[in-house]
């Protein structure tokens, strides 16, 4: 009897010691299965001749050849490039401007910040629906300007294949520039006031202080904002669907809508998997170095 108590105690101690691992294991296993397992499956499928149904016979790079030979994919890539460049540049410019203005000890700052940021609480579908209405050539902005007396004004970007991609930029900037503002404002608030005071005493004007001293100190904020916005841009799907449906034709297709169309509408699994793999590789190239440097920084 006397010997059994320490034994059960030992077992429960050993169990207790491993409990954190026991708790984490199923969650980690879920992540291995649903993230890494699925990624592996998609990548493998991209090397097979899967069409409507998965076909596990290895076929090399054929699906990639087909993907890159598809004009619609080139359009999607060009759109992604145009969209993300403009989206990131404009959102950053607005974000920096508003953050600097808000950093001037403004009365009602909380209120103004709330207004700048509320679009982030909306879904891209809602944003797309609203901007589709505002930008529609019949009753929207075009008519508003005509009513103001400019009878010949035309603004048909939404239905014009050459310009429709810019309407996606307009709506996306409206939704996400407040986010850039919030990130920059947090960065500005972390700059030591003493440095600014010292610069002011040295006779540096506000422009010099911001361009010469503050901005260089915010380099990490610039980097993380660009990465977050780029990440948003590469994944953008909902907004395109709601605003233009990828059209006119497929003029506003992006990789995400391309992948969806090939996977669920045209049932070309191989090409869909190949395009998803291309998207993954792009994100990995951007995110992994970033995560690596961020995590190394926080590790005690």
């Amino acid at each position: 009897m006397n010997e059994r108590i320490p034994l059960t105690l030992m077992i429960s101690r050993a169990l207790e010691r491993r409990l954190p691992m026991i708790v984490v294991s199923p969650l980690f296993a879920a992540s291995l299965f649903f993230v890494y397992g699925f990624i592996a499956w998609s990548i493998y499928i991209s090397f097979t001749k899967s069409g409507v149904m998965p076909n596990y016979a290895f076929e090399g790079l054929q699906q990639y050849d087909r993907l890159w030979a598809t004009p619609r994919w080139s359009v999607a890539l060009r759109n992604l490039f145009v969209f993300s460049t403009l989206f990131i540049a404009i959102s950053m410019a607005i974000g920096i401007l508003l953050a600097i203005l808000l950093d001037q000890r403004i009365r009602g700052e909380g209120m103004i910040r709330t207004i700048f940021l509320y679009p982030m609480a909306l879904s891209f579908i809602v944003t797309g629906t609203v901007w589709k209405w505002i930008l529609n050539p019949g009753l929207g902005v075009e008519r508003l300007v005509r009513q103001a007396g400019f009878e010949d004004f035309t603004f048909d970007w939404l239905v014009n294949s050459d310009y429709a991609i810019y309407t996606v930029v307009i709506a996306a900037v409206w939704q996400s520039s407040g986010y850039a503002m919030a990130l920059f404002l947090a960065g500005l608030r972390s700059v030591d006031d003493e440095i600014l005071k010292a610069a002011a005493i040295d006779g540096a004007g506000p422009v010099r202080v911001y361009s010469g001293i503050v901005m260089p100190m915010l380099r990490p904020v610039f980097l993380s904002t660009i990465i977050i916005l780029a990440h948003l841009a590469i994944k953008s799907f909902d907004l395109v669907i709601a605003l233009t449906g990828g059209g006119p034709g497929f003029a506003t297709d992006m990789p995400a809508t391309f992948m969806y169309a090939f996977a669920f509408q045209r049932s070309e699994l191989g090409v869909a998997a190949a395009s998803a793999t291309m998207m993954l590789m792009t994100i990995v190239a951007i995110i992994v170095p970033y995560l690596y440097s961020e995590l190394r920084g926080t590790r005690e």
Binding site: P20, S31, V35, W133, I134, A256, T277
Partner: protein, 279 residues
Amino acid sequence: MMRLVLFVVLGVFCIYYLIPLVVMIATSLKSLEEIRAGSLLSLPQEVRLDAWGKAWNSACVGVRCNGLQPYVWNSVLMTVPAVLISTMLGALNGYALTKWRFRGADVIFALILFGAFIPFQVVLLPMARTLGQFGLAGTVPGLILVHSVYGLAFTTLFFRNFFIGVSDGILQAAKIDGAGFFRIFFGIVLPMSIPAIVVTVIWQFTQIWNDFLFGVAFTVGDSNPVTVALNNLVNTSTGVKEYNVDMAAAIIAALPTLVVYVVAGAYFVRGLSAGAVKG
């Protein structure tokens, strides 16, 4: 003078951000005749709520004409469990990975975290098949599973960032007193992580309620979440285009997250900046 310019610029941007909301509300309250005759920016001459009623319970989404109401319930039934599950598991995960640093904890965290950034396109096809094999294809429980699994990376990140800032002293003292993993978690850690829980719940709620990709890929018709239903409603091409109904429907779909934002904006912003990994 400088201050005046400052306020003018800020004011102009306030208008820029607010105009779509104003247009949305104004349009939803107008009659179709007034929309056709009037101007985009004018306020309704006569406030009418018909469009709201129609958007709620009689507008056609695809072939069914019951309005958004059933889909709002789908979204509620999907969002609430998914938020609770992913937040709970994230808290447990973050706690175990930071406060009981066993060997490999950092690697496990990094591997889990990566899941927060993948383009979900790369998991759509295998997920659709897996849901089919589980018998969950096209169902709300299926979506709960999907959102819980892919939300876990974010919630783990949030809680890990929070727990890293919590001193180990109290936990060491509790461990010496003989308190175990779960006693410490429920008795000490959870009560002090209320702010982190609020941030995570708000973030997850906004993400899951607003999700479109998983909803459109994994559900059909009756089990669509409200975002998918809204998109179908707006793009249903039969009959006259009713912009007032579209706008009322958009507001209905946006209202829950908008209310959360207005009530708990500060926490929402914290979630946003936590999305920048370090917070």
